[in-house]
Symmetry: D2
Subunit: 299 residues, 4 copies
């Protein structure tokens, strides 16, 4: 970053006074850190895979086993899920404490680290006892008391961008995490709200331009979640490859053994077979272009 840095929404002054901990100290400054044996910000591009919701113990064990064997570094899945309305359908049934227990069991028995969302301060301890990474969902991006409480656990945190948030606000929210002395922070892009979507099936537009934009300003690794933005299975492959090519430091994917019967958003998860093929393509791309890798050994 030289003095000619021409931003107006984000100024050089902002970098110094608004998010000094989040801002890069030098052009090549990039955070590298280990989470449960997986390196972020370095040569590996970790992949989080699993179902949208922790629907049942069976589902979690099945996906944990399968995505692990196909090369995923973390199992994802929500036990506590935000609902737009206060009523739950039979199908859409949060499993809450049970869900966390199943994640914990899968982690131990199958040996895959866990990322799952924290919605409320009161459940931080419970979730932190199992999760390797605490996820802050996009609707909570600026819920600063929750951010601060999560940061104080010193657990690694992934902060999803709100779909209506500027990069400036997102980096400001991340600063709330770093100011607590927590240095293991990941940013996650998951689609922004735009006027001109392509079909009703796509409610959000994946903002890949934010990958180089964020990397120009911050040393924090940038994860991209193409499943949620596209909301449409057939586009997930293209947008995952584009995410890697744009320079993403990690990928979050919805994977489900029976996507059409997923408890939520059944148009969006991919099945194991598609996941397997996509992992190979992403790995090939990362190796060819960036000398980074996704797959290890023979996975």
């Amino acid at each position: 970053m030289d003095n000619k840095f021409p931003g107006k929404d984000i100024t050089i002054e902002d970098l110094k006074t608004k998010f000094p901990l989040v801002a890069k100290k030098s052009p090549n400054h990039k955070s590298k850190f280990d989470v449960s044996g997986v390196e972020f910000g370095g040569q590996t591009i970790p992949v989080f895979a699993g179902p949208n919701m922790v629907e049942s113990r069976e589902l979690i064990f099945d996906t944990a086993k399968n995505v692990k064997s196909l090369g995923a570094h973390f199992l994802r899945g929500g036990a506590f899920k935000p609902l737009t309305f206060p009523y739950r359908s039979k199908k859409y049934n949060e499993t809450r404490e049970d869900g966390i227990k199943w994640l914990s069991e899968a982690k131990k028995e199958i040996g895959i680290p866990i990322i799952t969302e924290v919605m409320e301060e009161r459940y931080i301890d419970l979730i932190a006892s199992t999760a390797d990474i605490l996820q802050i969902g996009s609707r909570n991006m600026q819920n600063f008391p929750l951010l601060t409480a999560c940061a104080k656990t010193q657990k690694p945190i992934m902060l999803k961008r709100h779909y209506g948030s500027s990069l400036r606000d997102w980096l400001g929210a991340a600063e709330y995490l770093l100011v607590e002395g927590n240095e293991k922070v990941l940013l996650c892009e998951r689609g922004v709200s735009v006027p001109h979507t392509h079909r009703s099936t796509s409610r959000f537009l994946l903002d890949l331009q934010v990958v180089p934009a964020a990397q120009e300003l911050t040393h924090l690794p940038i994860i991209v979640d193409p499943s949620h933005a596209t909301f449409w299975r057939p586009w997930v492959r293209s947008m995952s490859l584009a995410s890697i090519a744009a320079g993403a430091d990690g990928i979050m994917l919805e994977v489900h053994p029976d996507p059409e019967n997923s408890a939520v958003d059944p148009l969006q998860p991919i099945n194991y077979e598609s996941f397997k093929a996509l992992m190979k393509e992403m790995d090939l791309l990362a190796k060819t272009l960036f000398k980074r890798k996704i797959l290890f050994n023979n996975s």
Copy 2:
């Protein structure tokens, strides 16, 4: 609402299953309720006026006296203020517990009810002991644990719309309040984020179309906040009058004795003189068009 109701984002089914308490029961269904002697949803169009921030005891007493004498029904002012970044400038100094104390003193001594924002569950009791209406800020619109905790106090609540939120999500959030048995709920429009703003001074676009849209679906009163959306003093009069003409059930205005020296957003508050003139115009408009009123007696 007849059966030909043509919405797709919000269906008749949604009204019954997603927000049954928020939805109108009949075309003329409208909530009316009293808050500290002021009627909402009826013939009065209440006005909330005051500074953005509770900067000092002097400011609060001065504005309380003046806006009350000019006809405001409630004093507004934030003691706990959300900050995009975790660092506070000298000027922008939250007064927190002190601010609440000053609001409480002004309320007693000057006799004007209070609306102020709740940012965190831990301060609900403190704030509820003074505030006549708890304000949920737009960034917390979908902070459901906070919403539920505020609703349980049974205090009247004003729920600001997130700048990136659809009407559907907003009504869903309001349902979280009503489901706790709290029936004194106000909705507040404060501008949406759009691609095509007019000047850098206007970051948001006041969405007045949402007034008839919301009133078609819900019985809850709709408040409009033109100060925040315009972010520019010279447009506040036009947009306040337009809000009343669009059918707003209440108006929230930033009023400051010395706007250019306001601790935050100094381009946006109006002074006492402008407020006085605007109150008369809004009152005239409300009486002429709708047989509603803002001003009482000789105020």
Copy 3:
């Protein structure tokens, strides 16, 4: 406009170099001009009313007679209509040269001036022989050759804002008209594209904030078209009143004798009875607040 004018998207320098003819010369500078006996920019707030499309001779004569008797100053109606796709349905049938002829006959026999859209240079002469005001549709806002050719006729022109256009681009396009020596130019706001519409029935958001924003910068009269933005009959009244209250210098409305059987967009026109009531309310509002008027004599 003083030197502290804080715009960034539009600077004081822009006013001098980008749109010097469109820019106000002094704070109270406002264009007033006569079109076929109707004054724009002065005490009158002219109303353009009629169907979306010139469907038939019968429709045009019926609406011309009725909207004139109810106080409309101009008959609106499109004979040449832009279509998103190159195929025409039976119902949606442009009447083109026939439509212009019917407008011309209605103008002479019933005595109401005409505003209608010009889509192509080749039809300017034909349309200008009948129309009192040439309308440039929003998709052509930056079709500069068309703008220049229309301006050269020296006919009054109404320039609709593109739904994705900033105020800066809109004023720039208007400068293309004034630079040809044509001083009778009207701007028309008709809704902008936003991420968060209220229902599928509303595709655009009427931007009333642009009324004071434009009036701060330009002397040109600002017309508002609430029918097109709301796309939903029940909201037209509220948004028309709000347009007047925001300071609009004219109103464009879709009025149809049998709205549900309108050839296009049947959810949006109002019938004669609603138009009659709305004209009275808008007139009352204009007189009460601004000492302007819509209705004359006993209409």
Copy 4:
């Protein structure tokens, strides 16, 4: 496309009745056609490179020679340029007929085909005598008379998407070209207008999701222009690679020998050296992932 195609904005009915010529006839249907010896829609991913504006004969000859030798398939450059305001600066000087002449000379002497923009019907013949591909700029996307006149030349056409346009409107505009019997049509994504841009330097967001979305519906090749959307040189590489990875059928890039002294938008072009490196990376990516190629021989 099976019967469960879940679009609402675009329905299966639309594919049949609104844009039947643009729509795919079968899942693998893809247009392939030759333009001046370069194949579109097949194994090659053609690259258009050159300056934003045809500033001078020297510039055109220099860039033509250099981008050709580095593997570009077409020289791009605007001789007729749309201006937001009717006044031209000294620096920003359209070269018009001269510019077309220089492009024509460079084409003959250096042997590289040309793509350049058509702004007005009156210049179609002139431009078509030189250009191998006629470019329709985004502001003219729905200027249907211009589209029809260009299509009738039977020259290949590239249709840029308006920054505020849905995929549905874009495909509808393309249908206007195909209905004239012109089958050599390219679509070009160049960024959409969004509320939440990253910095003032980025005015648009490159919509890569539209690549798989368009390819699901239409057989027409999809070009992506990352220079214009990012408006910021340092992001061009990432977004170009992401475009290829998303499945783009062609890339349009601004390349200038002295970017900082480009007559327009000097923040956006890349220099020859960056272009050379990027061509190699894009080629490697295309070969590795898709068995497509950009570079031939030893270029």
